[in-house]
Subunit: 272 residues, 2 copies
C-alpha cells in the first residue's frame, strides 16, 4: 500500500509538471492528498510506536514554538561590500538567497548594477516573501541612510572580530530591552578588502570562527544563531511553489524507492 | 592609557609586518603583551563589574565545555558533486574552506582537477590542521569506496529532504550508540543537478530549510548544528598564523579608534 500510494503520488506530480499549466491545480491537490496519506503510512511503517510518538512530540513542540514566535522578531538589512567583479556575481547571488532564506528582509549591494537583482527577484517571485534588493554607489552613504532611518545595531561580520557566542549574548541583551520597532540590524558582509572605517562604524565586529572560510557561511550561521534556528520554519507570502519535506529511507528501515523528488505548486500559500 | 597602549600595540604589529621576517618573533611577542594588556583594560573600561564578571563566566564556561569535548567527535568527509565549470571554482573553494573551518576532515571533488586543491592547501599550510582534498572521476565510486572503508552515515544535503531538526535527532540517536571509530559521516553536497540515485543511496536526505539558497550555507549550518557550535573553537595543529579576537567599541561604550585589525603570527600554535 505504501509503495503504490507514493508511486501514484509522484506519477501524478510528474505528469502535472509535464503538462505545464493545464489543470495543474486539481491534479496537484489530488497528488498532495495521496502523498500526505502515503507519507503518514510510510512513517508508521518504519518507526516503532514509541519512536513515532517521540517524533510526533518533537514536531508538535517545534510547531508550537514556531507559532509562539510567528511575529517577525527582527528587521534585517544585509549590506554586501565590494561586489565589483563578474566573478563575484554568483557569490553575491548566493549571499542574497541566504539572506532571504535565513530571515533577512533586504540586501544592499555596493558597486554597479548587474544581473544579481534579477536572479534574486525571480526567486522571490516563485518562492514568495517580500525580500528586496537594491544598489548603493557608496557603502558609507548606505550605512548613514540606514542609521538615520533605523535605531538598531550595526554588525560587521569579520574573522578578526570577537567570538560569535560573546557577541550574541550582548546583542540579545540589547534587544531584550527594545520594543518591536527598534529590533533592526544592519549586517555588513565584506569581500576581500574591507575599509578600516567599517570596523569603527560598527557596533559589533563579529567573527564566526577565526578561520578563513566564506562570507556566505558566516551570514548563514550568524542568522541561524540569532534566530535560534526558527528561521528555517518561516513561511513566505504569495509563494507559487513550496516543498513538501520528504522523510525517506529512515535509518534502520527498508529501502523505499521513489524515483522523483517532489515539488508541489500551490496557488495559495498557507504555510509549510 | 587605553588609547595609547592600543596604538602602540597596533603600530608595533604594523611595523613588524612591514619589515617582513626580521625580528618578527620578538616584536610580535611585545606587541601581543601590550595588546593583551590594552584589551583587558579596554574591556573593564566599558563594562560594569557585574557585566564583566558575567562575561568572564560565560567565556570560562565555554572554555571548559571545549576542553571537555576536545576529543574529535566525528570523522567527516564532504563529497562535492557536479563541480565541472570554471564558474564553480570559487564556490567549490569556499565550500572546501567551510568544510575545514566547520570541522570536516576531507573534501572529495568530482570532475577534473584544477586550482581548487592548490587554493585550499595553501590555506591549510598557513592556518594549520590536516584537511585533505582529493578528486574522484566518479561520484558513485567515491561513495562505494567510502562505504567500504567507513561504517558511518551518508547524509545528502538537499532542499527536498526532511527537516534538519528531525534528521539531527535521528542522527544523534544513531551516533549515541556508536564507538569512537564508527562516528564517521559522508556529507554529499550537490550542485545544480543531482542524480536521482543519490537520494536513494543516502541514509538521510536533509534539508536546511526548504527555500533555495546555497550549498555553502547548507554545509556550514549542518556542521554547526551537528557539532552544537563547538567547531568554532577548534584549534588547528601546526598553524603559522592565528587570530587574536578583538573586542572593540562594546555597545554603550565610547568610540575607540584602532586603525589596523590585528593578525598575529606565531611560530608555535598552542590554541586560540
Amino acid at each position: 500500500v505504501v509503495h503504490t500510494d507514493i508511486i501514484i503520488g509522484t506519477t501524478l506530480l510528474f505528469f502535472s509538471r509535464q503538462n505545464k499549466r493545464e489543470k495543474k491545480k486539481e491534479r496537484n491537490s489530488t497528488a498532495m492528498k495521496v502523498l500526505e496519506k502515503a507519507s503518514s503510512i510510510n512513517r508508521s511503517y518504519f518507526l516503532s510506536e514509541r519512536k513515532q510518538k517521540e517524533r510526533d512530540d518533537l514536531e508538535g513542540g517545534m510547531k508550537e514554538n514556531i507559532k509562539a514566535s510567528s511575529a517577525k522578531e527582527y528587521y534585517i538589512t544585509v549590506l554586501r561590500l565590494g561586489h565589483r567583479l563578474v566573478r563575484d556575481e554568483r557569490m553575491s547571488t548566493h549571499l542574497g538567497l541566504v539572506a532571504r532564506a535565513f530571515g533577512a528582509d533586504e540586501l544592499i549591494l555596493t558597486g554597479k548594477e548587474d544581473d544579481i537583482a534579477h536572479s534574486i527577484n525571480k526567486v522571490v517571485e516563485r518562492w514568495g516573501g517580500h525580500f528586496k534588493v537594491s544598489f548603493s554607489q557608496s557603502w558609507k552613504k548606505a550605512i548613514e541612510e540606514w542609521k538615520s532611518s533605523h535605531n538598531g545595531l550595526v554588525i560587521h561580520l569579520t574573522m578578526y572580530g570577537e567570538e560569535l557566542d560573546n557577541a550574541l549574548a550582548l546583542i540579545n541583551e540589547h534587544f531584550d530591552k527594545c520594543s518591536g520597532s527598534n529590533r533592526s540590524l544592519l549586517v555588513i558582509v565584506g569581500a576581500e578588502k574591507v575599509p578600516p572605517e567599517v570596523y569603527v562604524i560598527s557596533d559589533f565586529n563579529v567573527s564566526v570562527g577565526h578561520q578563513p572560510h566564506s562570507e556566505i557561511a558566516a551570514l548563514a550561521v550568524f542568522l541561524d544563531r540569532l534566530y535560534r534556528g526558527k528561521e528555517l520554519y518561516s513561511t513566505f507570502d504569495e509563494a507559487k511553489i513550496r516543498i513538501l519535506p520528504m522523510t525517506r529511507k529512515d535509518f534502520g528501515g527498508k529501502n523505499l524507492r521513489i524515483k522523483k523528488r517532489v515539488e508541489v505548486v500551490v496557488s495559495d500559500e498557507s504555510g509549510i
